[in-house]
Structures are given as structure tokens and as C-alpha cells.
């Protein structure tokens, strides 16, 4: 059943009786060719690509809770392709391209909105970094431009340019924007389900069955499920799931809090990043201001944060936009980040045959969703890395071919 405006009108006159489940609730089969652990955006996108692009037939996605209950449902919904290191520039530009065609591909409106992403700078060094980034983005073929304060003032008249850290300009990435995070999960789930992928919710992985260095399947709260290949795509739980397979990873779990205000009439048109304040903001279609900042900075597996970051994010918000002072904060939440030791992800095979890993996305997981899904599907199906994911190897920490965009070194809490 296809979704369309016509269908919506037809169903309006039909008492909505015609709508079918967006995905089924199947019982697990004894065996699958490929099991993807993790029913978030990445896992479901992987399943979608396995079924649509790589012709795989017998696929399951297992999810310990409800689909989208991890970071896919707890992020600040930003989609952008602005990276400085060429492997990342290529990857994220490709991802933005996939976002642009996602709605037609999935027949699901994820409300991808290219309203423009702005990164402010405060001095010449930051400005030059922005030139470097936008130059490499332009060389990749995506967009990027530098704005001076005059143009910025026109876009954001209520921005405070003369706070503690005066704003001297910004780069604008017009193709950047936001999307409705839950819809991405549902869209991929529906698409995968329509192609026969079994989505197994409330199915928690409790262990791997591994013999002679080869994975045979997974133990779950719904019993053993056999598989030829298993892909792990569990974001904040990467270390614990890999630990079940006896693999230590260069990944730690940290908390990133985000905040949303009450619904307000539109006042922040695009997405703004305030480097000096470790703060970013956008406004959802529903009118809520979505605010975010730094990690809580200690290892944590609790999906909740504490007051210091809560406060520092809002201090920055009010500093950048003094008018926000009279808006009200509605809700705070915390997501588990899989922070890697160089700030970038891994899409790779593991020392165990048939076991593959997609993790370590740090802050960049949501925007990577389609490209990560495609690359991981490629790896799971062909057993060869996707061209774009070749630099995302697990052994780069050992060899030193790191992808440290921020130059923070092996400090996951500062990435």
C-alpha cells in the first residue's frame, strides 16, 4: 500500500479503515541469512538496503525494545554534510544525497528540511578553519559559503553579536537541515518490512553463538536465532554487545543531553551552531526549539543527564539569542553516544568471521543514517568494504590512520 495525498483523502472518507500496519510483528524464524542487531535508524536502513539494493532475502532486525528507542529517537535531528577530512567529506556528502531522495525511496515523508546549517565563528583562526572546511566541501561538490556579520544579521536579527564572544561571521551549508527523527525509523522499518525483512521488537540479544571463530547466530530473550552473518549496529550499546563476542572496542558510552522548548511560532529559521558556547539550536516544524550542547563528559549508560550541562547549554542559548530568555524549556532527555577514540565511526569486519560492526558514530549518527545503512549493507552482503567506508576500519587506531576531525586525540569525552 502506497502512501500519497490521494490515499490520505480517500481514507478520510473511509473512516481510516484502510490503513495497514506500517510493519508486521512476526515471530522469529529459526535461521536468517543476515541478522542486524539494533532496530534504530542505522539497523533498519541497513536492512532496507540489504533488501532493496543487495537483493538479500532472508533478513531480520532484532531490537531489544521498540524500534527507534535508542539514539534514533533521542537526537536533535540534524542532517548535514560539512566535514573537513576528505574521507568524512565524501561520506557525509553522499549521505546528504541519500537524504534528499529518501522520501521518494521510502514512500514516507521524513520531513527532511534543508533549511540551512550555520556555524558561527568568533575570530580569524576559526574563520580560516571554516574556509578550509567549506573549500573541501566545494571540492567535493557540496555547498558551503562564508557569511560576514551583515548577512548574518539579516538572517538572524535577534542574534546577539556582541556577547562575551563576539560573532565575526559564519559558514552556511545550505543543504544542511533537519528531519523528523522518528519518521526516519518508521520509514525504513516500513520499507524493509514490505520487502520481507522481519523486524523483531522486544528481542534482546543476550549472547553470540560462536564456534571456531565463526558466528552461528545469536542468543536472545526470544530464543536462539541462527544466522550466517550478524551485523551489530547498536550505537550506545556497542561496547556491551561486542563484549558478548569477546571483543574490546575503542568505543565508550557517554551521555549527550538535548532539550526542547514549548511550541512557539517560527522564530529560528535554520539551524545554528555556536562554537564558543558549545551550543546549537533549531526549531522543529511543530514549533519547539531544539537545543543541544556538549556531552555530560563521564562514561554513562543511563539515558539521562545532570544539571551542569543542562545549565551551560541554556546559558549559551540565552547568550546567543537573548529573546529566548522568556521561552520555556519543556523537556530534557539524554541519549547514549558511542564515542570512539578519534571521533569517528567504524564500519568493518571483526576478528570473528561473520560478525560485523557498525558503531562509534559519536555525535554524527543520525545524519549518517542512510549512508551508514548502505555501507553496512554492502559490507554484510558482499563481505567487502564499501568504497566510502574503506577509511572506517577498526585497525586504524593501531595503524595510526586516524580520522580525528577535532584533533582531540583519544579522549572520547572531548570529541
Amino acid at each position: 500500500m502506497n502512501y500519497s495525498g490521494l490515499r490520505v483523502i480517500r481514507e478520510a472518507f473511509n473512516g481510516q479503515r484502510g490503513w495497514k500496519p506500517a510493519w508486521r510483528n512476526p515471530e522469529p524464524k529459526p535461521n536468517y541469512d543476515i541478522i542486524v542487531i539494533g532496530g534504530g535508524g542505522h539497523g533498519l536502513a541497513t536492512a532496507h538496503y540489504l533488501a532493496t539494493k543487495y537483493g538479500e532475502k532472508c533478513i531480520a532486525v532484532v531490537e531489544k525494545g521498540w524500534i527507534g528507542s535508542g539514539n534514533a529517537g533521542r537526537n536533535t535531528t540534524i542532517v548535514r554534510g560539512d566535514y573537513t577530512l576528505p574521507p568524512n567529506t565524501r561520506f557525509y556528502d553522499h549521505s546528504v544525497g541519500l537524504w534528499e531522495s529518501m522520501e521518494r525511496e521510502l514512500n514516507f515523508n521524513v520531513m527532511h528540511s534543508q533549511r540551512g546549517v550555520l556555524f558561527l565563528h568568533h575570530n580569524d583562526a576559526e574563520r580560516d578553519d571554516h574556509y578550509r572546511k567549506t573549500n573541501i566541501m566545494r571540492m567535493q561538490g557540496t555547498d558551503g559559503e562564508i557569511l560576514g556579520p551583515e548577512k548574518l544579521r539579516k538572517m538572524y536579527p535577534s542574534m546577539n553579536f556582541d556577547g562575551r564572544f563576539p560573532i565575526t561571521g559564519a559558514y552556511l551549508h545550505r543543504r544542511g537541515g533537519t528531519a523528523r527523527h522518528d519518521a526516519v525509523v518508521w520509514g525504513y522499518a516500513r520499507s524493509a518490512d514490505r520487502r520481507g525483512v522481519d523486524i523483531l521488537q522486544n528481542c534482546k540479544v543476550t549472547g553470540f553463538r560462536i564456534e571456531q571463530g565463526k558466528v552461528l547466530g545469536i542468543e536472545t530473550t526470544r530464543g536462539f536465532i541462527g544466522a550466517n552473518k550478524v551485523g551489530v549496529s547498536v550505537a550506545g550499546n556497542t561496547s556491551r554487545v561486542m563484549d558478548m563476542a569477546g571483543i574490546r572496542t575503542p568505543i565508550e558510552s557517554h551521555i549527550l543531553q538535548a532539550f526542547v522548548s514549548e511550541g512557539l511560532k517560527p522564530i529560528i529559521p535554520g539551524q545554528v551552531n555556536y562554537g564558543a558556547g558549545h551550543f546549537y539550536i533549531s526549531q522543529s516544524d511543530k514549533g519547539g526549539l531544539v537545543l543541544g550542547g556538549d556531552l555530560d563528559q563521564y562514561n554513562s549508560c543511563a539515558q539521562r543527564g545532570n544539571l551542569p550541562v543542562f545549565e551551560s547549554v541554556i546559558e549559551a542559548a540565552v547568550t546567543l539569542f537573548p529573546m529566548l530568555s522568556r521561552a520555556r524549556l519543556l523537556r530534557a532527555w539524554g541519549g547514549l553516544q558511542d564515542m570512539s577514540m578519534d571521533g569517528h565511526a567504524v564500519i568493518d569486519e571483526t576478528p570473528i568471521k561473520g560478525l560485523y560492526l557498525n558503531g562509534g558514530w559519536c555525535y554524527g549518527g543520525f545524519k549518517a543514517t542512510p549512508a551508514a545503512g548502505e555501507c553496512f549493507a554492502h559490507l554484510l552482503s558482499t563481505e567487502q568494504p564499501h568504497e566510502l567506508a574503506k577509511p572506517y576500519r577498526l585497525d586504524r587506531f593501531r595503524t595510526g590512520y586516524l580520522l580525528d576531525e577535532k584533533g582531540q586525540g583519544p579522549n572520547p569525552n572531548r570529541q
Partner: protein, 985 residues
């Protein structure tokens, strides 16, 4: 308009009438009113529009759970959207407007949405607006956006002040109803430090709104007595108008005090609101309970409200929503509303009780086993349709309907650390589970104990238990006599009969049908239901909606409510003004500011400043006639190379390193060797991270055998000390080494240029020989200046000239700076700022933060040989990894344009001479660039792949953003005086 719906009695001060204005009309209320009660008293029922269908909305509750009565309070820069009229205290001159409409409140153009509600069902937007691709941003989204949202921000800077603070207590009592007051009295009398916070301006909770006796007197009097006793205790802090918004780890609570929201304009210098971070040893949650409605068709008209709230308006505020009201209930509590309103002279048409065995009540018609199945009234309720147990239906006129579906304990704060409430069948509600925040206990209605007697008792008991765990002996107080009424609820969440839409979430327009659709489409987990339908995502967070929705989903799936899921809550409990969370550390005070010793002089001379961490640093010192920064910076740089310049370099971190093992310690934290540095000498050093990247550089001066002072970059001063402390305490705990920062203890000035020695000789006291022979390059010593001022002198150079750094006690910094300018006038002395400093260091190829970017290794920086392989130092193992020693990896090189009139820009990318401008041909990037006033052309420092092997090669610097493409030659980074003759002069 007169106060047509004002009743007798109440806790309002009729002696103090207050004028206010709503939607442009003038009204009068009394001190003690909320905006909602005053509007109600004035007969105003229609207050706003719902989010999606723009249906008329009126007052639904009497508290912070209000989903409907949202207004824009105040005007101008103080305009405050989405303010709940039910908690906005009335003050003289209050101005408020309704919100979320196009046109006028009564004739809202967007009310058209309601006609298309079948199309705009839950999640409809996910299924449409996909074609054509470009239309989303241009057509669909702008329409959706402009219709969405509720109130408006003014867009102006908020003129009010906010503040944050910290409080400490043994016991935090959250909520000042019967349970909270008893808990506070118990703990207060035991001598514990107690904080009692309540969101209301009056303590007492439900006791303020019920007609009942406590301790043999009217409840309100008992409350007043209790509050008086608590007020008299030094160990008790009473915090009215204070909402505990969040429970955080280790007993920390965020409490928002609305200090001056009840005033027209805050008093100058005092905050509008304060966010208190309360550090509690124990806390008792006495947050009461929130009534939930029964859901039935067309239940959203203004006039339909919670029964307990209707009673609260009558008893506390002496206001009724109408002169003729009805009640719809499934429990005995609903009957109290009828009784109390009748006692106030309000005509109660009927009590519709869903229970077949409802107790009878004299003086009012009661229909047992019946349901309300519909309503009428365009902008407010005019009648209800009642269906009796036998199926007969009748229409009954009434202007308001009080609905009671039971009470939900306010468990919110018990969930803030991941706790899950559990279902209690006997009261058909969620109560706190086992996993509540450490140190918290729950009492009263928040625990599901709904009678006053139980609330009082549990408050006292929980306080005794909490204090006992702190080792404070407390005895249970004698309980005042109080009502112990039965509640007798027979669960009913929604009425199965009737036509039309039945609203669950009144703000977000989520109906029973939407839940059914979510179920049909398999959005069945509670979170999917919420996210798909937007249920509970309004400003009220579904306080009155969520349980009913859950019950309906449970019905549809055939599971029990606890099997279906629980609703959990995240902070804040009620929405919190952003300004309050920002406090005072916003705007110019967002971060504290560090001033250098020459700050005052620089400001006197109109220097523009740059921020460097918290420091403010002068960029250049403009002279008359200079209009562009380069004129000033070039002049300053040229003056250094020609005469002498002085520059404030105080911001460089300084760490005093002492101890018997000081030298061997430095040998391990610097990559290069320090053990053999002679006393009286300075050496340049680089520090690596353990992963091999070079993260800081600076100098170390050996002042004595066991005493060094090292410098760090401005940006890394804190990190270097932290890392050195880590090495000292965690890696080599037995090394005898002591560290302390002396950054601001010394005003440190660079004195650079061929005439720098001459200038210095005029300052340094004559007994110190600073000739080239006595004080050569890289020497250091203690000297005195200007007749005995203790100082440290280092002969080091960042500019490439003969140069010194001179450090004096900071309090003399300003005077010394002025003195040097005075004494060096004939030498042509001039201050130079950051820009000239940068020009000269690029000319010399010295790296700064732009090159030390956290990825660069010593090898990449051309300092590979500095990393000693003969000793252990941090980072000296992993920097030898393949990826960091790859001969094709990036190397720092110098660039100069082939055509000297062309300009190299920092942030440009490098490509080979004939390669396309494409990411696949990128060869590196330019880190720093300037137009060298001494060489007369542009120069740049760049990281180039395999750069050390490519000297002399012609490549291109491309900058697609600025549209330049410049041929350059790869050269050494030592652009100026490569032999270094000048600095040894």
C-alpha cells in the same frame, strides 16, 4: 463587565481589587486571584485555540497541569508565550492575550483545519507532501510551520534579570500540602535543616480548596498555624512559588523560585526568577495528585473541566465557570464538587455517575450507571447529552461540566532517574515504583494515599524515617484529626458510546480515534503511540491525558495497562523559563573575563581585542590615519624588525616546576631532552599526547638545579597543568616534583627588535650585565628593574629578532609598560599586538595552534628529530605508528606565490600544478598565511602530502569559496632570516 461568576467566601482579598486586561478588554479581579480565576469570575470562558484543529478552548484545571488556558502574558520585550492562566497570579495592570489564531480568537481562519480533521488524522503528514521533491521546503513546510507553534516570542532582548543559587539541607520537602506540611513540622521540630518548596504562592495544597476540617478547625486555619510555626523556625526555609523541576543525581534538585512573577515589574537588581540547585541529604516528595478526566465525545468545549478544579475555583477563588453546572464522575470525589458548589449557591443540574451503585446525594439529581456522550455549545458548553444505563438518552442544559475520572499521583520526580512507576489496581493509577531516586521517599497523594488523614500520617512517618537514616532523632507528631473519606473509584477511561471525536490530549488535539489509528498501523508501544500521535507532547506533557490514552491502547491490544507500558517523565516537571536556567552567566558574563596587565592601557589606545579562552588580547594599536588593520599590524611588525617593539605575552601559561626530580620529570613530559639543560638556560620544548600528536609547545627555563619555570600556549595552559599533574600523581607518584601555576602572578612582556637590549638596559638595574656575552641567546636570570623591582629575564624570541621576555610582579605590569614606552621613545619603541606577532612568527615559520591542530605530530611539524628516542616520554611510542610516519603523510612546508602579487589565503586547499580542483586531488591545506611586510609578498604555511620531499615544486593553492587559484612554490617555512643571525645579535 461585572464579576458575574464570583461567589461568596474564598481566599481572595476583596479589599484589594486589581485591574487587568485580557484581549484588549478591561476586567477586575482581586488579590489572591489567578488570571484564570479572575477571568472565570468575569464569565470569560473562551481563552484560546488548540494546537492543530484550532478548536475553542477554556479553563480545564486549576493548576500547573493546565493544557488549555495558555496566554501570552505581558507585552513588549516582556511578552511571555504559553503562560498558563491557571498559575499566573493576578497583579494590578496585568495584560494578557489569547494565542494561536489567525484573525481573531473568535473568528480564527485556521479553525478551518477542524473541518478537515479526517484528513489531518494522526501522522497524516508522514504519508503525503512527498511530491514534487522541491515542494517540501518551499510550499508545504512553510504552511505547516506557520500554522504550528503556540505563542510568540517578542524577538526582543529580555530586560529582566535571572539568577542561580545553591542551597543545602538535610531534608527537602517537595510540596506543601497536608503531607508536606506534616513532614516539615516533624523535621523542623527535630532540628533538621529543612527546605519546604511549593509551586503555589500559598502553602496548603488541596487543603486550600477543600471544605474540610483538620485538627478540629477549618483546614485553612490549620495550614496557617502550621506555616506560622515553620516560619518561626530558623532551621526551616519556606519556599513558596518554587517548583522542584528535576531530581538529579546524588540528591541534587533543581528548584525554580518565581521571585517576582507576581509583580508588574521586577525590582531593579533583583531577579525575576532564581534557579536553586538544592543539595539535599534526603527528600520527601509530597507533590499530590492530578485529576484525570473521563473521555467522551465533544469533551473539549470551554466549560468542560476537571471536577476537582471546579471545586477549587469555588472554594479558594470564589469563582464558578457557570451558574448552572453538572458533574460527570466515576468516583465519590466527584460528588464533593457538587456538594461544595451547591453550598456556594451554584445550581447543580445533575451528577452523572458511571457507577451503577453510586451513593445517593440529597438535593441534587443523580443518574447512576450513566455516561455523558456528547455536548453542545459553539464557544462554550450549553448542554450535555446523557446516556443512562438502559440506553435512554436525554439532553441537559448546563454551562459547565466537572469531570472526574480519578486521580493520578504526581510521580514525575520519581521517574527523573529512570524509575518506573507501577500500576496500583485499587486506585487505578500509577504509583511510585521501587527504583526511585536515592534519598527520596514519597508521601501523601503522590504515593497514592488520597485521604487527608493518610496524607498527614505518611508525611510525618516519612520524615521520621528520613531523619533516622541521617542519625537525627525525630518523634512522630500527634496527628491532627482529619477526614478519612473513601474514594470508591470504578475505573472508566473513556465512554464507549456516542458520536463525534473524543479528546485525549486537549492541547495537541489527539483523539481516541487517533489512538485507534496508531494501533491499527502498529504504533503500539507507548512511545510509538506518543510519537506518532503527538499525545502528551504539549506544554502540559499530557499530565491529564496520558493514562487515559494508555488505557485505551490497553483495551485495543487486549493487554492490561501495566503490560501496555508506563508513562515516564523527564525533567523539568513543569516548563521552566530559559532565562532562569541561564541565570546571570549570560551575555557579557557568559564566561568570566581575564584581563592582561596592559588591558587598561590598550583600551585607552583603542585597541581592538580578540578572545583567547577567557583572556582578552589586543590585536593591534591603531595610530591616527590608519584605517585598515594591516596598516597598523605592518607598521608594528616593521618597527620590531627595525627598532624595538613590546608585546604583552602574559597570557602564556606559566608553571613553576620544583623538586629533586624536576628535571627528570620534564624529561618525560616533553618529547625532547631536558635533563641536561644548564641552570640559567632556556630551551624550547614540545609536548605530545600519549597517542603521539603534538599538543603544546613552549619553553622551559632552569632557574636553579631543582627549579624550572615553563611556559605553555595560552589555549593549553589549563590542560598542560592538568596533564602534568596526571603524570605526577598517577604515573610517577614517587617523583619529587611540585607544580603550581604562576600565570597571572607575572606580567610578562616580549621586548623585541634590534634595539631591545638598549631599551632593556635603561630599565634593568645597572648591576646586571645583559650584554650579548653575559646574557646570550636562550639565557635566563633574575634581575631587578627601576630601582629594585624583582623581575625575571629570558632571552627568547618568537619574532626572530634579538628579543627578551621580561616578567615582573603583575601589580607593576601597567607601570612598567608605560615606563618602557616612555624610556624607549627615542629608540622608536612601539607596542605590537597579536596581528604583528602572527606576521612575524609566520615569517619565522613558528607553529601556533593553527599548526598544532591536535592531529599534527612532531614529524609533520618538521620537528621529528626533537622527539628523543633515548628516553621514555609521553607519546614517544605511539607517534611511531605507520599512519603517523607515512612518508606520504602531511608535512609542514612554506609556500610562496610564483607571481608575487598573488595572495595565499589561510584555509585554502592544495592541489598539484595541473590537477583539477577536486577533493580527489587534494594535497593538503594552508594553515597560516600573511603578506609579509619584510619580504613584500604573500607567504603561507601549509600541510602538504609528502611535503618534506617536495621542496621547490610548483603546486597550486585553491580557494573555491573565495574564488582564487594561485601557483605557489614549496619552500622551507623559515621565510625570514633562516640562519637566525638576528636573534643572536
Amino acid at each position: 463587565m461585572t464579576q458575574s461568576n464570583r461567589l461568596n467566601g474564598g481566599l481572595i482579598n476583596r479589599g484589594k481589587p486589581l485591574n487587568f486586561n485580557f484581549d484588549g478588554r478591561a476586567y477586575q479581579g482581586y488579590e489572591g486571584d489567578t488570571l484564570a480565576s479572575a477571568l472565570m469570575a468575569n464569565g470569560v470562558r473562551f481563552l484560546g485555540r488548540s494546537f492543530k484543529y484550532h478548536r475553542p478552548r477554556g479553563i480545564f484545571t486549576a493548576g500547573s497541569e493546565e493544557p488549555n488556558a495558555l496566554v501570552e502574558l505581558r507585552s513588549g520585550a516582556r511578552q511571555e508565550p504559553n503562560t498558563r492562566a491557571t498559575v499566573a497570579e493576578l497583579y494590578e495592570g496585568l495584560v494578557a492575550c489569547s494565542q494561536n489564531y489567525k484573525g481573531s480568537l473568535r473568528y480564527d481562519l485556521l479553525a478551518l483545519n477542524d473541518l478537515f480533521s479526517d484528513i489531518l488524522s494522526a501522522g497524516f503528514y508522514y504519508k503525503t507532501f512527498m511530491w514534487p521533491a522541491a515542494f517540501w521546503e518551499k510550499v508545504y513546510e512553510p504552511i505547516i510551520r506557520s500554522a504550528a507553534g503556540l505563542g510568540r516570542l517578542s524577538g526582543e532582548d529580555d530586560p529582566d534579570e535571572y539568577e542561580k543559587g545553591f542551597l543545602h539541607c538535610d531534608l527537602l520537602v517537595i510540596g506543601g500540602g497536608p503531607a508536606g506540611l506534616m513532614a516539615s513540622l516533624t523535621a523542623g521540630r527535630a532540628g533538621a535543616n529543612v527546605i519546604l518548596a511549593d509551586e503555589d504562592c500559598r502553602f496548603g495544597g488541596r487543603l486550600n480548596v477543600e471544605q474540610e476540617d483538620v485538627g478540629g478547625k477549618p483546614a485553612v486555619e490549620w495550614v496557617e498555624q502550621a506555616v506560622a510555626e515553620l516560619t518561626a523556625m530558623d532551621n526551616v526555609r519556606l519556599m513558596p512559588r518554587s517548583t522542584a523541576m528535576g531530581a538529579f543525581d546524588h540528591g541534587i534538585y533543581g528548584v525554580v523560585e518565581r521571585v517576582q512573577d507576581h509583580l508588574h515589574t521586577p525590582v531593579e537588581g533583583k531577579p525575576r526568577q532564581t534557579l536553586w540547585r538544592v543539595y539535599s541529604k534526603r527528600a520527601i516528595l509530597c507533590a499530590g495528585a492530578t485529576e484525570r478526566p473521563i473521555v467522551f465525545p465533544d469533551n473539549d468545549r470551554p466549560g468542560v473541566m476537571l471536577a476537582g478544579s471546579m471545586r477549587a475555583y469555588a472554594n479558594r477563588w470564589a469563582a464558578t465557570p457557570a451558574r448552572m453546572v453538572a458533574v460527570f464522575t466515576n468516583n465519590d470525589d466527584g460528588h464533593r464538587t457538587a456538594v461544595d458548589l451547591m453550598a456556594k449557591g451554584v445550581d447543580v443540574t445533575v451528577i452523572v455517575d458511571a457507577r451503577l451503585d453510586a451513593p445517593t446525594l440529597t438535593g441534587v439529581r443523580l443518574i447512576s450507571g450513566a455516561h455523558v456522550i456528547g455536548t453542545k455549545g459553539r464557544h462554550g458548553l450549553s448542554s450535555i447529552r446523557v446516556r443512562q444505563a438502559d440506553g435512554r438518552e436525554e439532553t441537559l442544559a448546563c454551562g459547565a461540566l466537572g469531570v472526574s475520572g480519578g486521580w493520578n499521583p504526581n510521580v514525575h520526580l520519581t521517574c527523573h532517574q529512570g524509575g518506573r512507576p507501577v500500576w496500583n489496581e485499587s486506585i487505578a493509577a500509577f504509583v511510585p515504583g521501587q527504583n526511585i531516586p536515592v534519598g527520596m521517599s514519597v508521601a501523601g497523594a503522590a504515593k497514592g494515599l488520597f485521604s487527608t488523614e493518610d496524607a498527614l500520617r505518611s508525611g510525618a512517618e516519612e520524615a521520621v524515617a528520613a531523619l533516622e537514616s541521617l542519625g537525627i532523632a525525630a518523634s512522630a507528631l500527634k496527628l491532627p484529626r482529619a477526614v478519612n473519606s473513601a474514594y470508591n473509584l470504578q475505573p472508566l477511561y473513556h465512554v464507549p458510546h456516542g458520536k463525534g471525536r473524543a479528546w485525549l490530549d486537549l492541547q495537541n488535539d489527539v483523539t481516541v480515534k487517533d489512538v485507534k489509528l496508531a494501533h491499527q498501523e502498529n504504533y503500539r508501544s507507548v512511545e510509538h503511540l506518543k510519537r506518532y500521535t503527538t499525545l502528551g507532547m504539549g506544554t502540559d506533557q499530557g499530565k491529564t491525558a496520558n493514562v487515559n490514552a494508555l488505557a485505551i491502547m490497553a483495551e485495543l491490544t487486549g493487554k492490561s495497562i501495566p503490560e501496555t507500558g508506563t508513562t515516564i517523565f523527564r525533567p523539568p516537571y513543569t516548563p521552566v523559563v530559559l532565562g532562569t536556567i541561564g541565570g546571570r552567566t549570560v551575555g557579557k558574563h557568559f564566561h568570566p573575563t581575564r584581563e592582561t596587565p596592559t588591558d587598561k592601557w590598550a583600551r585607552e589606545h583603542n585597541a581592538p581585542f580578540d578572545t583567547a579562552g577567557d583572556w582578552m588580547r589586543a590585536r593591534w594599536f591603531p595610530q591616527p590615519g590608519e584605517t585598515h588593520w594591516r596598516q597598523s599590524a605592518d607598521r608594528e611588525a616593521c618597527n620590531v624588525r627595525k627598532n624595538v617593539g613590546i608585546c604583552d605575552v602574559t597570557t602564556l601559561g606559566k608553571i613553576d616546576v620544583q623538586g629533586a626530580d624536576a628535571a627528570s620529570f620534564l624529561n618525560r613530559v616533553y618529547a625532547n631532552g631536558f635533563a641536561k639543560l644548564a641552570v640559567g638556560k632556556v630551551r624550547y620544548g614540545i609536548m605530545l599526547r600519549e597517542d603521539g600528536a603534538c599538543y603544546d609547545d613552549g619553553t622551559a627555563a632552569r632557574l636553579a638545579e631543582e627549579h624550572f619555570v615553563i611556559t605553555t600556549t595560552t589555549a593549553n595552559a589549563g590542560a598542560v597543568l592538568r596533564n602534568m599533574e596526571f603524570a605526577r600523581q598517577c604515573l610517577w607518584p614517587d617523583m619529587d616534583v611540585q607544580l603550581i601555576s604562576t600565570t597571572e602572578a607575572w606580567a610578562q612582556y616580549a621586548i623585541a627588535g634590534p634595539k631591545s637590549r638598549e631599551l632593556l638596559q635603561r630599565i634593568v638595574d645597572s648591576e646586571f650585565d645583559i650584554s650579548n656575552e653575559a646574557f646570550p641567546f636562550m639565557a635566563c636570570d633574575s634581575v631587578t628593574l627601576c630601582g629594585g623591582l624583582r623581575a625575571r629575564l629570558f632571552r627568547i624570541s618568537f619574532s626572530g629578532e634579538l628579543a627578551y621576555e621580561l616578567a615582573v610582579p603583575t601589580r607593576y605590569g601597567d607601570a612598567l609598560w608605560r615606563r618602557m614606552l616612555e624610556l624607549g621613545q627615542d629608540l622608536g619603541v612601539a607596542p605590537y599586538g597579536l596581528e604583528a606577532l602572527d606576521i612575524m612568527r609566520i615569517e619565522k615559520g613558528h607553529p601556533t595552534g593553527r599548526e598544532l591542530d591536535g592531529r599534527a605530530t612532531a614529524l609533520m611539524l618538521g620537528m621529528g628529530r626533537m622527539v628523543s628516542r633515548k628516553k621514555d616520554s609521553i607519546g614517544s611510542t605511539l607517534d611511531q605508528r605507520e599512519g603517523l610516519t607515512d612518508p606520504n603523510g602531511l608535512r609542514l612546508v612554506g609556500l610562496k606565490p610564483v607571481n608575487q602579487s598573488e595572495v595565499i589565503t589561510a584555509g585554502s586547499q592544495l592541489v598539484n600544478e595541473t590537477a583539477p580542483v577536486h577533493i580527489d586531488s587534494e594535497q593538503g591545506h594552508v594553515t597560516s598565511a600573511c603578506i609579509s611586510p619584510h619580504l613584500g609578498h604573500s607567504i603561507g604555511m601549509a600541510f602538504l602530502k609528502g611535503g618534506d620531499q617536495r621542496m621547490g615544486e610548483i603546486i597550486r593553492v585553491v580557494d573555491p569559496v573565495r574564488g582564487t587559484d594561485v601557483k605557489v612554490q614549496v619552500i622551507s617555512t623559515h621565510f625570514f632570516d633562516p640562519e637566525g643571525g638576528r636573534l643572536r645579535a
